[in-house]
């Protein structure tokens, strides 16, 4: 995976410097239509991948603590530890300690209060995902500047529509005019096509933030070990921007 992520460093793609401006103009037009419909003083619309692309498999609306969500939070906590420390000892215990230090006390208490069989089953599942990550996630040299949970929030229409998301992992140093960042996303429940589009959505947000998209996206499914790496293309960005505009025009935000 490391070799696939790195690729040929001499052949980093250059993107049209007008691309980001064009995408922003397109989205701003759509966002202002939303403002015109909802009114200037309506609360902002916060639009993440969950609203845009639907929830991941198994996540239920209105149920903040579904098994899939718990698993996702635990696996992502372990992933951060793996990237920064290079490993972990006891997957469930380490993940809970990580979440506790991150201020997610209610979640930790909920997991700790599970009946022993349920907790044992969760521990086994987490261990299985952890084993996949240990095998598949490469060690990133500090010089690659790996950073986890890098949040992006792009305000449109003067902040009345906010597009937001979070990269599970970004590596690379930004270079103006050249795509030089690489993003890795984790999926604990799929479906694959949705998770791939989530990465395209994040690539669009990065384009709006820095003016240049990441050059490469990787997706790892921690349940199965399936992974894929793809270059970011203008078509991906235009397709997801088009989907966003359609959502803004017809979505349930009125």
């Amino acid at each position: 995976m490391l070799a696939l992520l790195r690729g040929d460093t001499a052949a980093r793609p250059r993107f049209d410097p007008e691309l980001a401006g064009g995408l922003r103009a397109w989205l701003e037009d759509a966002a202002y239509e939303v403002v015109a419909t909802r009114g200037e003083h309506a609360p902002p619309v916060f639009l993440g991948a969950g609203q845009l692309l639907g929830p991941p498999a198994g996540w239920r609306d209105g149920d903040a603590l579904s098994e899939e969500l718990l698993l996702s939070r635990l696996v992502h906590a372990l992933f951060r530890q793996l990237v920064n420390e290079g490993g972990f000892d006891h997957p469930l215990r380490d993940a809970l300690d990580g979440l506790r230090a991150s201020g997610a006390e209610p979640l930790v208490r909920h997991i700790e209060s599970l009946a022993p069989p349920a907790r044992s089953a969760l521990s086994e599942t987490v261990a299985s995902h952890a084993a996949t990550m240990r095998e598949m996630v490469p060690r990133f040299a500090p010089g690659w500047m790996p950073r986890t949970s890098d949040r992006v929030a792009i305000p449109l229409a003067g902040g009345r529509v906010v597009l937001h998301g979070s990269f599970d992992l970004l590596v690379g140093l930004p270079h103006p005019g050249t795509a030089s960042l690489c993003a890795l996303g984790l999926s604990t429940s799929g479906p694959w096509a949705r998770e791939r589009r989530c990465l395209h959505y994040l690539a669009l947000l990065e384009t709006l933030r820095s003016g240049t998209p990441p050059f490469r996206l990787a997706l790892l499914e921690t349940a199965t070990g399936r992974y894929g790496v793809e270059d970011v293309r203008e078509e991906h960005l235009r397709a997801i921007a088009s989907h966003l505009c359609a959502w803004l025009a017809t979505g349930p935000h009125g």
Binding site: P44, A77, R80, Q81, V83, N84, E85, F88, D89, R93, D94, A95, D97, G98, L99, R100, A101, S102, G103, P142, G143, M145, P146, R147, T148, S149, D150, R151, V152, A153, I154, P155, G158, G159, V162, H164, L173, P174, P176, L208, R209, S210, G211
Partner: protein, 268 residues
């Protein structure tokens, strides 16, 4: 991004009319003196950018309803991230990961050795399990990497101050103090890392940095510009050192203390 943000910090400052500046500064001092006297007996009050945001923003209720402070990966990331960036700027670490790790180890040493350098944050860190410390470190690495990668550091010159807040204590009341927060200070600019949504109050929040620097300057010198930067979105907001900014800052302090009747004006 690196170029745009660095350019905002190193761009030459426009000339400011000294007499107009001095007159407005005296006016601001007068406003603050009045506020201090009126608050006598009301208990100590420290005005920071957070209080200005809470007083002026539409999300004031939300801000006021925040839970009591507790250390977490999120609340510690700035302190640890700044310490890491200091190590990077000094050449004592080669990457944010290495720098944050060094800072976390330092905490543990200080607490274990009973060093007087150990702060409340250090004691909290030392009490965490290795996995808990890893989560805190990961959050700080992300914070530090974003700042480290956002600037062309050599272009900022050699007189850099990383993460030193500046305080101004009212000479009229020991109970009133203002805090100017900036993550990076050069001889001509201050960089303030912002979070949360873009908001109308941000210019007043940044004006406080200018006001504090101006009040502290013994020779009445005009301070540098203040550049606010949202890492989440890449947006910048520049507040140039103009007399109107002093007025804006003093009025915002007045609103925080609930003593000003006039609405806060934006500088032209």
């Amino acid at each position: 991004m690196a170029d745009r943000l660095t350019d905002a910090l190193v761009a030459p400052l426009a000339d400011v009319d000294p007499s107009s500046w001095a007159a407005t500064l005296e006016e601001a001092k007068g406003t603050l003196a009045g506020l201090a006297v009126r608050r006598a007996g009301a208990g100590p009050f420290r005005v920071t950018g957070h209080e200005i945001r809470a007083a002026l923003s539409s999300d004031a209720t939300e801000l006021a309803a925040q839970l009591p402070f507790a250390w977490s990966a999120r609340t510690s990331r700035r302190a640890l991230g700044l310490a890491a960036v200091r190590l990077l700027v000094a050449g004592d670490a080669r990457s944010p990961v290495e720098a944050v790790r060094a800072r976390l180890e330092e905490s543990c040493h200080w607490v274990r050795d009973g060093s007087p350098c150990a702060s409340q944050l250090d004691r909290w860190l030392a009490g965490l399990s290795p996995a808990g410390r890893a989560a805190v470190g990961a959050e700080a690495v992300t914070w530090a990497t974003r700042l480290w990668c956002a600037l062309d550091w050599p272009a900022l010159g050699s007189t850099l101050t990383i993460g030193r807040d500046r305080w101004w204590d009212s000479p009229h009341s020991a109970l009133l103090a203002l805090r100017g927060r900036a993550e990076v200070r050069t001889d001509r600019a201050n960089l303030v890392v912002l979070s949360g949504p873009r908001r109308e109050s941000v210019r007043a929040e940044l004006a406080l940095v200018t006001l504090v620097d101006s009040l502290r300057a013994r020779d009445g010198a005009v301070p540098g510009r203040v550049v606010g930067w949202w890492p989440d979105s890449g947006h910048l907001v520049r507040v140039e050192p103009e007399p109107a900014v002093l007025t804006l800052g003093a009025e915002a302090v007045g609103l925080v203390l609930g003593a000003a009747g006039a609405p806060v004006r934006s500088p032209a």
